[in-house]
């Protein structure tokens, strides 16, 4: 039972992060390798806002989330906008460079020590007992809930929202979409901001649960296989991919070797690339878009 809960929590973490990869890839065909760092930035933003709005944890969290939204737009406007139409390798490397930059800045501002945003906000983190004798911490439960809410909102938005439809159109055929009067730059900026928003949510909740160090981007990178296993351009896929990767990781750690934790997602990734490179639910695109 505990094992099952662990799988669900880890899958929620991966899914919440992976939807950021999927959003950006689906809309603009760019792989954002700075996603882990952007996520970490969101989590560290809580530390900043916590001192700003001391005594109002809800305000502080909301401010951090809004801040991450703004960061996403800024990243697109000042950086990725210049890379539209460039070689995809150049775009990927720009995100990698951005990740390095963010990591350096975070280390400069907040140092490499472990931080506890939950304490800064004076929020408790009690263990909850679930029926069946398993335990789950409050913030892990919040993460699972947030994940479901985020996916629900995203499905609704992409399916019925005006801008959601524009995003799908831009992802399907940018040229045609632009011809029909869709402002591609706005759509891309929206995708980036939504992606950093969801990433920051994941980062903040993870930091509230178990503290925060500058090694958080590793988790972001481990969530990438989840996105790819499900199909890089499919949100449903990201959910299933996260579940598969998380299950494989938790079970292998439990039954085989705890040291495997860092490689399991990548083993799953390679297996998937060999069998079905475009993922479980992804569209089978021509793989030489780069």
């Amino acid at each position: 039972m505990q094992l099952f809960v662990n799988i669900v929590v880890l899958a929620s973490i991966y899914a919440l992060i992976a939807c950021g990869y999927v959003l950006i890839y689906r809309v603009s065909r760019v792989l954002n390798l700075a996603h882990g760092e952007l996520m970490m930035l969101g989590a560290y933003a809580v530390l900043a806002t916590a001192s700003l709005f001391s005594g109002h944890p809800a305000m502080a969290l909301a401010a951090a989330v809004v801040l991450s939204l703004v960061v996403g737009v800024l990243v697109y406007v000042f950086l990725m906008r210049k890379m539209t139409g460039e070689m995809a390798l150049a775009a990927i490397l720009t995100t990698v460079a951005l990740g390095i930059l963010i990591r350096g800045v975070v280390l400069l501002v907040w140092s490499a020590q472990q931080q506890y945003p939950a304490q800064a906000l004076a929020l408790p983190n009690p263990s909850l007992m679930l029926p069946g004798g398993a335990y789950i911490s409050l913030w892990s439960a919040a993460l699972v809930g947030t994940n479901l809410a985020v996916y629900g909102a995203l499905f609704g938005f992409l399916r019925f929202g005006r801008w959601g439809m524009r995003m799908r159109a831009a992802g399907q055929n940018p040229l045609l979409a632009a011809q029909r009067g869709i402002n591609l730059h706005r759509v891309y900026a929206l995708a980036w901001s939504l992606s950093t928003l969801t990433g920051a949510l994941a980062g903040i909740l993870m930091a509230l649960d178990s503290g925060l160090t500058a090694t958080m981007p590793v988790i972001g990178l481990k969530a990438f296989p989840a996105a790819l296993v499900g199909g890089l351009d499919s949100l449903v896929g990201a959910l299933f991919g996260a579940l598969i990767v998380a299950a494989a990781e938790v079970l292998l750690i439990y039954y085989v070797d705890p040291l495997l934790s860092d490689v399991v997602p990548f083993l799953v990734l390679i297996a998937m690339l060999v069998v079905r490179p475009w993922g479980l639910f992804g569209t089978r695109e021509e793989l030489d878009r780069v």
């Binding site: 792989l31 950086l79 210049k82 890379m83 460039e86 995809a88 390798l89 150049a90 990927i92 490397l93 720009t94 990698v96 460079a97 951005l98 990740g99 390095i100 930059l101 963010i102 990591r103 350096g104 800045v105 280390l107 400069l108 990178l221 990438f224 296989p225 790819l228 040291l259 495997l260 860092d262 490689v263 990548f266 083993l267 990734l269 390679i270 690339l273 060999v274 490179p277 793989l287 030489d288 878009r289 780069v290």
Partner: protein, 360 residues
């Protein structure tokens, strides 16, 4: 026959030997000799610190050359370069530690590891292209690092493996100058290998695959075989660099080969300039020297003492900034700047090259 200054006015060869010669003009020959003399003289002039820096540049340039061969010419993106260097270093470390193997065993063994790993890294490239290939090499990087870490913990070397300096005729090679010349020889050797590979059949095949795979196949190039060949040669060279790294440092630990190292190597070929061996060398020098420059710049600031703890972070951040600047402002890299300068002087007093085909 050596002719002076051919570039501006065009240069016509009269026999096949001219065409094949590596050094084609007197100017090139003179600069090369001067440069070689400078390289030979360097260890006798430089301080130990500079000597170490030069050795690091030479080591990095072997890795950068091999990555340039793979990514810059054959067009196969790899984000797992650090994994290959780690594989070479660990092969050396493990062999010399477990069975006390001398360097003339570990060096070929490392190259062999490279060949095998090159085949493994290259297999996904037969099916995947571009982004997906990059991701699969990234995954392989993590797997190699995991295996190395596993070995370290299982054998109880959790802080790393110490490697003794190789001995030739009973004398341990622990003088910095000797190492400088060894590394120089290897670097020059790999440069020559790269030059000759690139101007022969394989180089032409790689360029064709890079430009358009379908067309390359239609021209009768065995795409799969040449892709694998690119991976194998590149990773064998990289693993040799890893072996040299292990001996030069005398110490191998898995922490040294994180993803950041892979990114640094990719940065070298981007900053240097894609599709140019000169670019690989320039990029290797730039990326290796860069942190020391930043460190010294920081020391110039007024309150240098208080910043000492932040050097690492500043390095990280400024490396990111420099990489972004190059990607956005100068996609052709240092080589692009160098060529522009050359053209400026060659064309003076004019500014622009005549358009190709504009002649009536």
């Amino acid at each position: 026959m050596f002719r002076p200054l051919p570039r501006a006015s065009g240069y016509f060869r009269t026999d096949y030997a001219d065409e094949i010669a590596l050094i084609q003009t007197r100017g090139e020959r003179v600069t090369l000799i001067v440069f070689a003399l400078a390289l030979v003289a360097l260890p006798f002039m430089a301080s130990p610190f500079l000597l170490d820096l030069a050795c690091q540049v030479l080591l990095a340039s072997i890795g950068a050359l091999s990555l340039m061969l793979l990514t810059g010419y054959a067009g196969q993106i790899s984000l797992g370069h650090a994994g290959l260097i780690a594989a070479g270093a660990f092969t050396t470390g493990i062999l010399s530690r477990e069975i006390n193997a001398p360097f003339w065993v570990t060096l070929p063994a490392s190259a062999l590891t490279g060949i095998v790993l090159g085949l493994i890294f290259g297999l996904p490239s037969l099916r995947l292209r571009g982004l997906y290939l990059a991701v699969s090499t990234l995954a392989l990087h993590f797997i190699v690092i995991y295996l190395g870490g596993e070995y370290e913990t299982k054998r109880g070397f959790s802080t790393g493996i110490t490697v003794e300096k190789p001995r030739i005729a009973g004398i341990a090679l622990n003088d910095g100058r000797i190492w400088y010349f060894i590394l120089l020889a290897f670097a020059v050797g790999s440069l020559l290998i790269c030059i000759n590979l690139l101007r022969s059949r394989s180089g032409r095949a790689w360029r064709a695959i890079h430009a358009k795979e379908t067309v390359a196949e239609a021209l009768g190039i065995g795409v799969a075989a040449y892709k694998l060949l690119a991976f194998v040669i590149s990773s064998a060279m990289t693993c040799v660099a890893g072996c040299l790294f292990a001996y030069y440092r005398g110490f191998v630990s898995i922490e040294a080969f994180d993803l950041f190292l892979s990114i640094q190597y990719v940065a070298m070929i981007i900053i240097g300039g894609m599709g140019s061996l000169l670019g690989a060398l320039l990029g290797a020098a730039f990326v290796t020297v860069f942190p020391y420059v930043i460190e010294n710049l920081l020391k110039l600031l007024p309150n240098a003492k208080s910043l000492a703890g932040d050097i690492f972070a500043v390095n990280y951040a400024s490396f990111g900034v420099v990489m972004i600047l190059f990607l956005i402002l100068e996609p052709l890299g240092l080589v692009g700047i160098w060529r522009r300068m050359q053209n400026y002087f060659l064309l003076w007093p004019f500014k622009k090259k005549p358009l190709a085909g504009a002649r009536k």
